[in-house]
C-alpha cells in the first residue's frame, strides 16, 4: 500500500544565472513495510530529496502526498506531517545536541507527539525506546550525554528519536556512512528489523551499492538531480541498465576478486583513461543527457534529453540505449509497468 507518493519533485537553489536545479522532477512512491534505496555519488541530489521530504527545504515544484492528502506546509498540518515522516541524518556526531542527555533527546519527541506523558510514564517510554534499539541497560543509557557514546550508539539514539513519534515513513540519509564498517551491518539490521516490526516505509539513501542491494526491495539511481535508473534491487545491481549505474557497479571494491584480476582490470582502466585528463571526466552538462561527457557509449542522440525508458520489465532507465523501435510489444509492456 502506498504511503508516500512524490510527483515531479523539483528543488532549486540560488536564482538567476547561478541557479541550480538540485532535484529535477523526481517521482516515486513508498509503501509500508518496504525499503527503497536511493543511490548516487555526492552532489547527485540524494540528500536534497530527503530534505525536501522532511520539509526542511521548500520544493520549487512537485507534490508530496501522504496517505492521499497533500503534505501540509504550515502549522498543525505541517506538524502532523512531520510526526509521520521522520528523518535520520548521516552524522550522529552532529545530529545530537551535546548539551543534553539521551533522555532529553527521546522525551521531547515523545511529548511533542502529543502523548501527554509525564514522570514515570515518560521515563518508561524512554527506556522502552532505548531497548527497542538495543541500547541497554536503558536506565543507565538514558542519563548519558552524546560524548559518552560511540558513533554506533549515537546513531541508535538518532533512530530511537525518529521512532518516538510513531512515524509511518523513515528517511535514512546515509545512516551508516560515518560509522566503522564493523558496526554498519548491525545498524542496518536494526533498521531492517524495526521496519518489519512497525511496518514502516523506509527510504535508504546511500552510495554503497552492496548494502543497497541487500537491504532494499527497489533501487533508484540518481545522477545530477535526476533518477536515471530504477528497478528491483537485484535487477539494478546484477544487470545495471544505465551506463552510470554500470560505472558505479564496476567501481565498487570487490573483495571476492582475486588480486591478479584486480590488477588486470586496473591496467585496462588506465589504458582507457589515457588522453582524458581528470578534469574533463568530471565536467557537467546541463543539456541533453547529463552523463554524456563521462559516458563510454555516448552518441549523437544524447544531445537531446533521454526520456524514462523501459530496459526490462519493471526496470527503467533514462538512456537512449533503451529506445527500442516502436514495436507494439514493447509499448504494451511499457504500459503494463506504468
Amino acid at each position: 500500500m502506498t504511503v508516500l507518493e512524490v510527483t515531479d519533485l523539483t528543488v532549486q537553489f540560488g536564482r538567476g544565472s547561478t541557479q541550480i536545479t538540485a532535484v529535477d522532477a523526481v517521482s516515486f512512491a513508498m509503501s509500508a513495510g518496504r525499503t527503497v534505496a536511493l543511490v548516487g555519488e555526492s552532489g547527485s541530489g540524494k540528500s536534497t530529496v530527503v530534505r525536501a521530504l522532511s520539509q526542511l527545504v521548500r520544493p520549487a515544484a512537485g507534490q508530496i502526498v501522504l496517505d492521499g492528502t497533500r503534505a501540509g506546509r504550515h502549522g498543525a498540518a505541517l506538524r502532523a506531517y512531520r510526526r509521520r515522516v521522520q528523518p535520520i541524518f548521516q552524522d550522529p556526531y552532529a545530529s545530537l545536541n551535546p548539551m543534553h542527555t539521551v533522555r532529553h533527546h527521546l522525551a521531547r519527541p515523545l511529548r511533542l507527539a502529543g502523548e501527554h506523558l509525564s514522570g514515570k510514564e515518560l521515563d518508561d517510554a524512554v527506556h522502552e525506546m532505548l531497548r527497542s534499539v538495543n541500547l541497554t541497560p536503558a536506565e543507565e543509557m538514558a542519563g548519558k550525554h552524546p560524548h559518552e557514546l560511540s558513533g554506533g550508539q549515537r546513531q541508535r539514539v538518532a533512530i530511537a528519536r525518529a521512532l518516538a513519534t510513531r512515524p509511518d515513513v523513515l528517511l535514512a540519509d546515509e545512516p551508516v556512512s560515518m560509522l566503522d564498517v564493523s558496526i554498519r551491518l548491525e545498524i542496518l539490521n536494526l533498521l531492517d528489523g524495526l521496519k518489519r516490526e512497525h511496518n514502516l516505509a523506509l527510504l535508504y539513501v546511500t552510495h554503497d551499492l552492496a548494502t543497497a542491494r541487500h537491504f532494499s526491495a527497489e533501487i533508484m539511481v540518481m545522477y545530477r538531480g535526476e533518477i536515471v535508473e530504477r528497478g528491483p534491487a537485484d535487477e539494478v545491481i546484477l544487470h545495471p541498465a544505465h551506463p552510470y549505474t554500470q560505472l558505479l557497479a564496476a567501481a565498487a571494491p570487490n573483495p571476492a576478486l582475486p588480486r591478479a584480476s584486480a590488477a588486470a582490470a586496473r591496467a585496462a582502466r588506465q589504458q582507457a583513461r589515457i588522453g582524458k585528463p581528470a578534469e574533463r571526466r568530471e565536467a557537467a552538462t546541463d543539456t541533453g543527457c547529463r552523463f554524456r561527457s563521462r559516458c563510454p557509449q555516448a552518441m549523437a542522440r544524447c544531445e537531446a534529453r533521454p526520456p524514462d525508458l523501459e530496459a526490462a520489465v519493471g526496470h527503467r532507465a533514462r538512456c537512449w540505449l533503451y529506445d527500442a523501435p516502436a514495436g507494439s510489444e514493447s509499448a504494451e509492456s511499457r504500459r503494463a509497468s506504468a
Binding site: E41, S42, N134, L135, T136, S150, G151, G152, Q153, R156, D180, V181, S182, I183, R184, L185, E186, I187, L188, N189, L190, H207, L209, A210, T211, R213, H214, D234, I237, L238, L247, L248, A249, A251, A252, P253, N254, P255, A256, L257, R259, A262, R266, R269, Q270, R273, P277, A278, E279, R281, E282
Partner: protein, 381 residues
Amino acid sequence: MSGPGDIVLRAEHVSVSYAGRRPVRAVRDVSLELRRGEVLGIVGESGCGKSTLAYALTRLLRPPAELTDGTVTFCGKDGRRVELTSLAGEQLRQFRSTGMAMVFQSAMNALNPVTSIGQQFRDIFRAHDTGMDRSAMDARAGDLLEMVGIDRGRLRSFAHELSGGMRQRVIIAMALALDPEVVIMDEPTTALDVVVQQEILDEIERLREALDFSIIFITHDLSLLLEVSDTLAVMYAGQVVEYAPTEQVATAPAHPYTLGLLRSFPDMRGQRRELRGIPGSPPDLGERIAGCAFAVRCNYVIEACRTASPVLQQLPGELRAGLPVAGWDAACHRHNSDLCPGGPPAELSGAATAQPDRTPAVTEGLVAGGAAAGDSSGGLR
C-alpha cells in the same frame, strides 16, 4: 646500495601513549616492516591506533602523544640508515624532504584555503631548501600536477575551485614533490565517491610503479586494501593482531577479528544472505586490558583469552607452506597448540575459504553460529 624487496622502513616495538590523568596507550608494541616497492596496508576500526601509528612513524606526534618505546629505522636507496627516533630539529627536517611524505586524512581540509595551489607548492620547495628559483618551482609544480592528471593552469586555482577528487590529486602531487622513498597515506580516499576513489587508487598504483616509492596505506576499509596492498597488518586496540600477505588474509585469515572484518562487507553480486558485523565496540584504551582485547566480541573465545594476553607469533609451518613471502603472524590463543591441542577452528585454520562470497554454503552455517554466540546485545558492551 639496495634493491627491490629490501626493507626500507622498519618499526620495532613502537608504543605511543597519550599522557593525562589516565594515560591512553593508543599503540602498544607494534613492529612492522615495509619492503621497497611494496604497499603495506594497515586496517582497523576507528580508535584502534592506526593514525597514531602513522604519526609515530613520521615523527609527527605532538604532546600529549608521546613515543614511549621503540625505534623506527629508515634504510635509503643510497644505503644510508637513519634512526628516525633519534633525529631532532634540523636533521629531522632534512630527512623529511627526501625520506618520507604523508598524505593526510580528509583532503577536503588539508589544503590551505587562502593561498593558491602554486603558492603551496612553492612553500614546499622553499621549506626544504631545494634552491630552485621561482620559474623552476612553477615548472616542477606544473609537471607534478600533470602527473596526477590535472591541468597545470590549476596552479593559479584555490582549493575551493577544485572538486574533492581533484583536491586529493593535488595533495598526492604535493606528497610526491620531493621524490620521497616512502609515502604514508592515512585514509586517502575516505571522503570520496566510489568512482573517484577507484580513479585515485589507480593513479596511486600507476605513480608507484613509475616513481618507485613504497606506501603504507592506512584505512578502515578492508575491501580496498584487499585490492591494493601486498601485505596487511590488522590492528585492534593498539596492537597488530594479524600480519600476513594480503592474498592470505583475503582468502583465509587466522584471527577472528580479521574474519569478522571480512564478513562485514556484503558482497554486491553474491547470494543474498543474513549479514552480520562484529557486535560490540573496541575497548577503552585508557583502562588496563586483561587478556585478549578482542575477547568480549569474539565468537571463538576460550578461557585463556580472558586472562592471558596473546602475543603476535608466527603460525605453525604447515599453515605457511606455499606462501609467497615467509611470515604469517597472528595474536590468537586459538593458534597456540598448548592451549588448543586440537588446533584452531576450521574457519581460522587457513585451509577453509573465509571469503563468504566464494563458498556461500559453508559460511551460511558460520554466520548462524556467530549470531548465536555474539548477537544478543546487538552492539553494546
